[in-house]
Amino acid sequence: MTDLLDPRATTAQPAPPPTSGTSPGTGRARLGRFLRRRPGLVVSVLVIVFVLVSAVFPAVFAPGDPNLAIPRQRSLPPGPGHWFGTDYLGRDMWTRVVHGTSLSLQATLTAVAVALVVGGLIGLLAGFVGGWVDEVLMRVVDVLLAIPPILLALALIAALGFGTTNVAIAVGIASVAQFARVMRAETLRVRGTVYVEAARAVGTRWWVSLGRHVLPNAAGPVLVLAVLEFGLAILAVSSLSFLGYGAPPPAPEWGSLVAEGRNYLATSWWMCAMPGLTIAATVLSVNRVSKALDGEWGRDR
């Protein structure tokens, strides 16, 4: 049932031919062919690079102070000087969005890391140990799947309290189940292969076998899932910060920027539109890249 739900599974376009297998060629020629053949992917990678750089060095793209309010420049529409317009206090929206990247991206990375580590460990344990451990862990995972992720995240926030970190942890825990399932399936697949059997036959300790043979070979699909989860986590984190559970007001964060702009929606559409467009562009790019990764890596398996 989950393979139906997996957004990766619905790659409608025929997967591009694996570049590695066609002709050897030099590195530069391959790169050139790659750029020409898939402009969408190139744009997506550029967007992601832009987001990553803004998160670490926001001043590169927006040298100003995100909290600097110039009352004379209140509610200016997008135009030269203010690409994204200004908000109700006269703060430059572009600067606020670029500086907001840091908090939003930190939360997203934390969420994905929590999901990957916790889900991965549960799946690895269930798949490697098997027996009743597998049975118990997978039943817990089934239960987590019965609760919509957003509601599970909300319950965790009600328990842990507000703040960007808690939102991130909540989003991460809420998506543990997916990771556990994929990791378990992969572990089971790898555990049954001849090389793991051979390793056991020559007397390799179980933890060496786990670390050197099972984990590296089972990790691929889980890492692809992590990239995909990245897009979902951006959406979940920004939704929760839109609802007001994230960072407290003065700090810019993508979701809370949209929430701030909401009160001025009738007159100043750009206060909502621009941060939202940034979220949408980022998620689309991440999904595009994860699809490409799945196409390349998934083919070989």
Binding site: D142, L154, L243, C272, A273, A280, V283
Partner: protein, 312 residues
């Protein structure tokens, strides 16, 4: 006979586990007593006697195992406890909030099925590659947009710019349109993705070739032969669809300032109203489990191969 009984047993088991998980999250991770004290005292100091009375009133003076068993027993009897904030029973609060949420959820479901099935059917029917590619790209676009932002942009366009539809509130059927569309987008995308996949599988089956060879028209092959079979696997995601819709109302009701279950949830989380949050989580789990149970029970009637495959 054994198949329904096993399914029912499994459903009950999932509900019990969902209760336990939500209890663990809400009553162990947080400190409900501290929340209660903060609420009751408004910052003033609390005497030990008051604290003990407060704990006794909500049963927090008992050992955790006793608390868990007592609350579980009450939940089985339909008593989900009382809200920390309003003091009202949780069950009644949820029941009161349900009708407006059911309205947008139903409208959203109808729109989602129409959008999703429409996109999937046209995309698999058309011979124009560009049209198929564009239509198949729509679902992945729809799931990439933040729901709250889509709602706000619809309000900006249709309420403020064009003045066609009300921006907020729940009065009249026209107030239902924008929330329902917003809610239907991600759900419709899910339905479209699933249906495109099962339609492609069905269209490659020998019975489709046979039907074509017999001279059945392309529309009849597509709708009667292929869709009839492709819709059955798509039923299995109905539980997810219901869960999606319910979760979507949290954001949609906030964006459109509508009353309902989603709004209650947002407020309960903000107030750390632990019993109410647990009630909503359990309600969602019940919806998921019941929908899946119904699908599981109907499935063998639609596709008799299932009962043969599952040794009863």
């Amino acid at each position: 006979m054994i198949y329904p009984a096993r399914r029912l047993g499994f459903a009950v088991l999932v509900l019990w586990a969902a209760y336990t998980v939500s209890f663990a999250v809400l009553f162990l991770l947080s400190d409900p007593v501290a929340t209660l004290v903060a609420r009751a005292s408004d910052g003033a100091s609390v005497t030990p006697a008051d604290l003990a009375a407060l704990k006794a009133r909500y049963g927090f003076d008992q050992p955790l195992v006793v608390q868990y068993l007592e609350r579980l027993g009450a939940a089985v009897r339909g008593d989900l406890g009382t809200s920390f904030v309003s003091g009202q029973p949780v069950g009644a609060t949820i029941a009161d909030a349900l009708p407006p949420t059911l309205q947008i959820a139903t409208a959203g479901l109808v729109l989602a099925v129409v959008f999703g099935a429409g996109v999937a059917l046209v995309a698999t029917y058309t011979r124009h590659r560009w049209l198929a590619q564009t239509l198949m790209g729509l679902p992945s676009l729809a799931v990439s947009l933040p729901v709250f932002w889509v709602g706000l942009m619809l309000v900006q366009l249709f309420s403020f710019q064009l003045g066609w539809l009300p921006a907020v509130g729940a009065r009249g059927p026209e107030a239902l349109i924008l929330p329902a569309v917003t809610l239907a987008l991600p759900t419709g995308a899910l339905i479209a993705q699933v249906l495109v996949k099962s339609m492609s599988t069905a269209l490659a089956e020998p019975y489709v070739t046979t039907a074509r060879a017999k001279g059945v028209g392309p529309v009849a092959v597509h709708l009667r032969h292929a869709l009839g079979n492709a819709a059955i696997p798509a039923l299995t995601v109905l539980g997810y669809v219901a869960g999606n819709l319910l979760a979507g109302t949290v954001v949609v009701e906030t964006v459109f300032t509508r009353p309902g279950l989603g709004r209650i949830t947002v407020e309960a989380v903000a107030d750390q109203d632990v019993p109410l949050v647990q009630g909503v989580v359990l309600f969602a789990a019940v919806v998921f489990v019941v929908v899946n149970l119904v699908v599981d029970l109907i499935y063998p009637l639609l596709d008799p191969r299932v009962t043969q495959a599952v040794p009863a």
